[in-house]
Amino acid sequence: MSNLTWIILLIPAFPLLGFLVNTFFIRDERTAGRVASGAVILAFVMALLSIAVLQAQPEPAEGGRRIDYILWEWISVGSFRVPFGFLFDHLTAVMALLVTGVGAIIHVYSIGYMHGDVRQVRFFAYLNLFIFSMLMLIMGDNMLLLFLGWEGVGLCSFLLIGHYFDRRSVQPGINPSGAAVKAFVVNRVGDVGMLLAMAAIFSRLGSLSFYNQDPMLDGRIVPGFLAHVNDIAFAQLDLGAFGTIGIATAICLLILLGVTGKSAQVPLFVWLPDAMAGPTPVSALIHAATMVTSGVYLIARVQPLFQASPTAAGWVVTIGVLTALLAALAAVAQFDIKRVLAYSTISQLGYMIVAVGMGAVSAGMFHLLTHGIFKALLFLAAGSVIHGAHDHQDMRRMGGLRTKMPTTYWTYLVGALALAGIFPFAGFWSKDEIISYAWFNGGRPVGAILLIFASMITAFYMGRQIALIFFGQQRDTTYTPHESGQIITVPLIILAVGAVIGGLINFPGLHWLSDFLHPVFATPGAPPVDETYTLGQGILAVVTTLLAAASGYAGWYLYTHGAVARRVRIGQPDPLYRYNGDIWTGAEIGWGFDWFYDHAIVRPYRTASRFLSDVYDRQGIDGTLVDGTGRLMGRAAESLRGAQTGFIRNYVLIFLVGVVLMVGYFALS
């Protein structure tokens, strides 16, 4: 290990410092925003420097440069050894650039967006804590440290969703503290899977570290578990009456449970639409660009496990396709500007999950990157719209904002085109790579067709959204829209540029990202990325983008021209509702997952809690055990207190009789 590797420690150090400074010293709101933004920008610079240092490392024999900086031994119990070490390889580098880069832009934007909020200092402290936790997640060199970051980002998500905890309800009728608790609890369900997966990994593979590590302080080497996955490839676990299951499959399915929680996949996605109760920059940073992608990162990181279990990989793809489709459909029926984007995020995460499930890690990471950029752009632009529309979020109250907010309109349009996968915007390249891999390399044409369908729906709801917000006449004239200030529009423009040229990072023929990530996943001695393009892939790409463009245009046309557009009224159901009522309602409520959880889990749980608190606790524990003991003692004392008369002579008499009896006893015996 050569020198300068300590520089990777500075990446998480700056946000942590920013968090501590904002928490303990700063009371001034302007300073808080500057300190927080500065910390993240410095972290971004450090990430760039770290990549330079990484590239300067000597290439090890088994391939794959990586920096593994062990700070101290965290846990050492027998053979269970967990170092507190930070890992920096090419996969981490890509994630770190996204987290700190997009994070920095969103921090700067927040200074403008959160202006006038009463809890700004706290807000920025939590944002920095989030960045720190996220960096911990992607830089942890073992599962346990990753899990620490995993929980840290969950905590920050909880704190920031509940930023408006003093309001009973925010648009569209969500209770912020309830939404925060919901996000936290749903994620706990996924975390059970993570914990069990870690236990299984340790018991079967003997280590929680991803890769072989340099000797620790006492000179012993902690082996990495990813290199030994083949040891358990065919091992079976006896489930008794349920048959047997492959160990690798079991571990992967447990990890998948954790991923469905954190990355908002079916069936645990229900928390993400409600998470829109948080401030818009939070939605952009945590619930679109970074935290929700950590599931994708995790599957990419433990890719050998999933390759050892085709069954589990198939499940991952199924879940991803299902999510992409269901969430895209749900997004069509939303009226809240942020809820559309929330369901869209869930849908796009489905694409990434499909990619990493098929083993197309670089395609998945590519989409993660481009999505991080254009979805952050869309959320920030939506925040600008909400700002300009005087805190209205209902798209029925907007309309015609194109002329009033030109910068926001153009950037939003760029984001929407990128999301819809229109040539030549960033989303086109990354989404096409996933679909084409599914069709040609992954051998899943059905999945590919469903994904194409989902991308058509994506284009449709983005067309609808653009039409509702920016075109036509302003439907609610009680406010005067205005363009936002520069501190909001400049970040939008930067991100819009990224959304246009983002496709370059893995442009067909150049495939920089694939080359960059290659050392992480390649087996030793493998040839560099071999990418040839067939005519079929070209046709597929053209067809996909044409279909998307057509349905995007359809969505835009339907809501700007003709009878449908005229029937969009404030407080009224969508005009398309009359053609497909029940399906529409289903889409609007997110396919009833919330209803199901409410009836299957929440209400029985509440009833049981009520029984425990009102009957078991109040009458059983409190009534019988606690009060009962007291009453028993009271009764016993009642019957004994008669002996205490208060007359001294009674006591003396008893004393005398006692003495006489004792003396008589000793005298006679």
């Binding site: 004994l640 205490q644 208060g646 001294i648 002579r649």
Partner: protein, 100 residues
Amino acid sequence: MVPTNYFVILSAILFTVGVIGVLTRRNALVVFMSVELMLNSANLALVAFAQARQSLTGQILVFFVITVAAAEVAVGLALLVAIFRSRRTLDVDEVSTLRG
């Protein structure tokens, strides 16, 4: 010389009189005097036995008892005065606040 058992019998009679006094009288001062009587009956027995055994130990013990009794009288009378001041009575049956 008077036989020892005469003294012992007198001591027992005095002690019994003291006990009966403590048990039956209601005036705290009389109860107090009865207690003194019991102490002195014990003293009498001690001196009688000391003389019978030709040993000084019993007589020395009597001096101790007298000293302690003097201290006890001081404390006891103070208590009686305090009770009288607060209750305006010395009837021990009236002073039964500690009844359960």
